[in-house]
């Protein structure tokens, strides 16, 4: 700093404006990353297209409105998205499917959850959103299995199996809270959804990752309450 210029609050030599700016920017980066529990800034390999993101946000909003105002629903609905937080930091997570293996009768989708979030938050609610493409009139049964891989990622265990009846093309939702909660508790990071249909149907989903009706999981999580150590 120019000779004789002092920091008014601490009496030390003031920093030059450039140095001060660099210090403040470094502090801002460190503060944001530590509050997000990220070791470093993420490197984004495949950003989600704006179309897919907007469709997902609209779909989630539409569901909240449906949930909040359905008859007999207590104010605020049962949807935890509307529930007030307890003052702990809350997160809303949108995880878009990664295509897995598929056959003429089945298709697999993978959903990854970052270790930082899995280790420091608890899942309040998680919903799987699927957009059905229906080949023709009538009702088509689909078996939806939730599979979890162990920490090695090699062995799969089935968390649940649900039969869904598909009558027309459009969005369908499935509550996957329990499966994602147990995923977080076990420290695993990948949820696999397997869809199986009757022989002559082919893939039940709209093809193409770029399509804005791509499947996703919307989860709401809350920072774990600080661990209280009781001293006796």
């Amino acid at each position: 700093a120019p000779e004789g210029v002092w920091c008014p609050a601490c009496g030390l030599a003031a920093l030059t404006p450039t140095t001060q700016r660099d210090v403040l920017i470094a502090l801002a980066k460190q503060s944001i990353l530590s509050k997000l529990r990220l070791p470093d800034r993420p490197n984004i390999t495949q950003p989600t297209s704006k179309g897919v993101l907007l469709t997902a946000l609209r779909r989630m909003h539409a569901r909240r409105v449906d949930t909040a105002f359905s008859p007999g629903m207590p104010r605020g609905g049962s949807d935890p998205h509307l529930r007030l937080g307890l003052g702990l930091q809350e997160y809303e997570i949108l995880s878009f499917a990664e295509s897995g293996s598929s056959t003429s009768r089945s298709a697999r989708l993978h959903f990854h959850f970052a270790q930082e979030l899995a280790g420091s938050t608890e899942i309040l609610h998680a919903t799987l959103y699927l957009f059905w493409a229906v080949p023709g009139p009538g009702t088509h049964p689909v078996t939806v299995r939730l599979l979890q891989s162990d920490l090695t990622g090699l062995n799969m265990t089935m968390a649940s199996e649900t039969q869904m009846e598909v009558q027309r093309a459009g969005w369908a939702t499935l509550d996957v809270s329990r499966a994602v909660q147990s995923l977080f508790v076990r420290g695993s990071q990948r949820l696999t959804v397997e869809l199986e249909v009757a022989e002559d149907w082919g893939s039940p989903l709209l093809a193409g990752h770029s399509d804005s009706h791509w499947p996703f999981v919307a989860a709401q999580a809350r920072a774990r309450t600080p661990h209280r150590v009781q001293r006796r």
Partner: protein, 114 residues
């Protein structure tokens, strides 16, 4: 609270905006475009203790305490945030999931003397 301007020496709030594009973070932070990392700076001499307190009476109470205890040797007090709000972020995590969260107490709206 008072915003710092020019070469004010007294306790005030210094605005400081970090533009995420300037630091190359705009690819993983979707919203907002930057972070108002304001901070408190300046002097808190004795007669300013408790200014601007949460209520005018707070400052009077502090001033009376100082007189009553004849604390003329008291040191200056500290220039600290008196009002803060959360920073709402929409960002990509390491698996390219999209996360929205509000980080509490990240933005300083006002400063004052303890």
């Amino acid at each position: 609270g008072i915003d710092c301007s020019g070469d004010s020496q007294m306790c005030c709030r210094q605005e400081f905006f970090v533009d995420f594009k300037e630091i190359g973070w705009e690819d993983w932070i979707i919203q907002p475009e930057g972070y108002h990392m304001n901070y408190c700076a300046g002097l808190c001499p004795l007669h300013m203790a408790g200014i601007p307190g949460l209520a005018a009476s707070f400052h009077t109470a502090v001033a009376n305490l100082i007189k009553a205890n004849n604390a003329d040797a008291a040191v200056d007090s500290c220039c600290v945030p008196t009002q803060r709000r959360p920073l709402s972020l929409l960002y990509y995590d390491r698996d390219s999931n999209i996360v929205k969260t509000d980080i509490p107490d990240m933005i300083v709206d006002a400063c004052g003397c303890t």
